[in-house]
């Protein structure tokens, strides 16, 4: 299948291991990706917190570029995914806003393409059986909890994806890779998101709770699909509670025997190598 991809700003910086692993895994699963031409930032929390029209216009500019190609857009970053879905939702239901945005941006908004995240595409288009067939090294001994956070799922009528209180697709993807996925009740709890820098004290309390609950569930790592969740869990939990955090695509690449994991794991702040090596996964 062919999709447009919107990498998002963190793809070149703090989340480069996510971006590189999504490219590797997509290629191996036969998902052809084409980067949206000359994309710009979605505005993230900072735009919607301070200026509604700006928060619609920034993703809309990219949506309008993507619509010319007519391909569905895959958005790995949960935050970008949420902003695009939200902008599309507003533009579809509010005709006056749509006209105003078209005039601000200088392009037409057309219906017809879907905004999707890679969990959805891998689970629903590729499928668990096909995925399992690509696994060359089962992730035996890995006991992850899957952590969705907020922005992939809420609000449900905008995100239109998975069960919004107890999502399961990520669990199934990891199970297909041979991991012993642990159940826990904190899949959709908030990590503090963009308060990471401005109110580190609050975020630290939130991720400490998540990390200790993961431990209590019997997990030896946390798996995410969001650069903000990754950043907060990887960097802000206190030393005694820290455990390795992975992007789910890094683990897919590991299970599928693709090159890259060694390079990606080196840039994690909480070093996952001791765990990976003790389980003889690398």
């Amino acid at each position: 299948m062919k999709v447009s991809i919107y990498p998002g700003c963190s793809a070149h910086g703090t989340a480069k291991e996510y971006s590189q692993s999504i490219e590797a895994v997509s290629h191996a699963l036969g998902i052809e990706t084409q980067e949206i031409d000359d994309w710009s930032c979605c505005g993230a929390t900072s735009a919607h917190s301070t200026n509604y029209k700006l928060s619609v216009a920034l993703p809309a500019r990219n949506l309008m570029i993507a619509q010319k190609k007519g391909l569905d857009v895959m958005i790995p970053c949960a935050a970008c995914f949420n902003r695009f879905k939200s902008a599309q939702h507003h533009l579809e239901k509010d005709k006056a806003l749509r006209a105003e945005m078209e005039s601000i941006i200088g392009a037409k908004f057309t219906d017809g393409i879907s905004i999707r995240n890679p969990i959805d595409i891998i689970a629903n288009d590729i499928g668990f059986d096909a995925l399992e067939k690509k696994v060359v090294k089962k992730l035996e001994g890995l006991k992850p909890v899957s952590y969705y956070g907020c922005l992939l799922l809420r609000p449900p009528e905008v995100c239109e994806f998975d069960d919004y209180e107890n999502p399961v697709l990520l669990d199934k993807i990891l199970t297909a890779c041979g991991a012993d996925v642990k159940k826990w009740s904190f899949k959709t709890d908030c990590c503090g998101g963009s308060l990471s820098i401005s109110r580190t004290d609050i975020v630290a309390k939130m991720v400490n709770k998540l990390a200790s609950m993961a431990k209590e569930a019997g997990a030896n790592c946390i798996v995410t699909a969001c650069p903000l969740c990754m950043g907060n869990l990887d960097m802000r939990a206190e030393a005694s509670l820290k455990m390795p955090v992975f992007y789910f695509t890094e683990l897919l690449a590991l299970a599928m025997g693709l090159p890259g994991p060694e390079k990606w794991f080196k840039i994690h702040i909480t070093d996952p190598m001791p765990l990976v090596q003790s389980l003889k996964l690398m």
Binding site: G13, D38, H48, T50, R61, S194
Partner: protein, 175 residues
């Protein structure tokens, strides 16, 4: 004359917030309630009572992390997450600024980076944030660790047609 309640409802453009019957599901599920001055359902009541200065001057509206748990669970479909956005925007437009100064400094640094390059440049944004917030020394060791590991890219590619992004900022300007 429009009341504070009218203004907020108009800007949310959804279910009127007075539909709230204070079941406190929003507050029970709010991950930030533990640090908030006023709980989410209390903010609704305060808006109904016309307590504009207190609401717009509160830390609550800036500590909301936009996790959207409240709107997801509200039995009356009151869009509290959107209400928090609206209140933040009204606080800025009224010239009141933000009680949580560091949170606003972060948003300003973030948006100014996008305006200048079309995409976020993380290290530049951090420098800008530190200058705006005056919080110069936090995260220095972490920043160095990230830089050494190659997690930060000073020369991340920009949007070529950055003029089109700046035009969006110009044309959507509010305050």
């Amino acid at each position: 004359m429009k009341t504070f309640l009218d203004e907020v409802n108009e800007r949310i453009d959804g279910v009127p917030i007075q539909r709230c019957y204070h079941c406190r599901k929003c507050t029970a599920g709010c991950p930030m309630a533990f640090v908030m001055e006023y709980n989410p359902n209390k903010v609704i009541k305060m808006i109904q009572m016309g307590k504009k200065d207190q609401v717009l001057g509160s830390s609550t509206i800036w500590l909301c992390a936009s996790c959207e748990t409240c709107i997801t669970r509200c039995p009356n479909e009151v869009d509290i997450a959107r209400m928090m956005d609206v209140l933040r925007q009204m606080a800025l437009e009224s010239g009141k600024g933000a009680k949580e100064k560091s949170v606003l400094a972060f948003h300003e640094a973030f948006l100014s980076s996008i305006r200048s390059g079309g995409r976020l440049n993380e290290p530049m944004m951090m420098v800008n944030y530190k200058l705006k917030s005056g919080d110069l020394f936090s995260d220095m060791a972490l920043g160095l660790d990230m830089f050494t590991k190659g997690k930060l890219s000073i020369f991340a590619p920009k949007t070529k047609d950055v003029a089109s992004v700046r035009k969006i900022f110009e044309r959507t300007k509010t305050a």
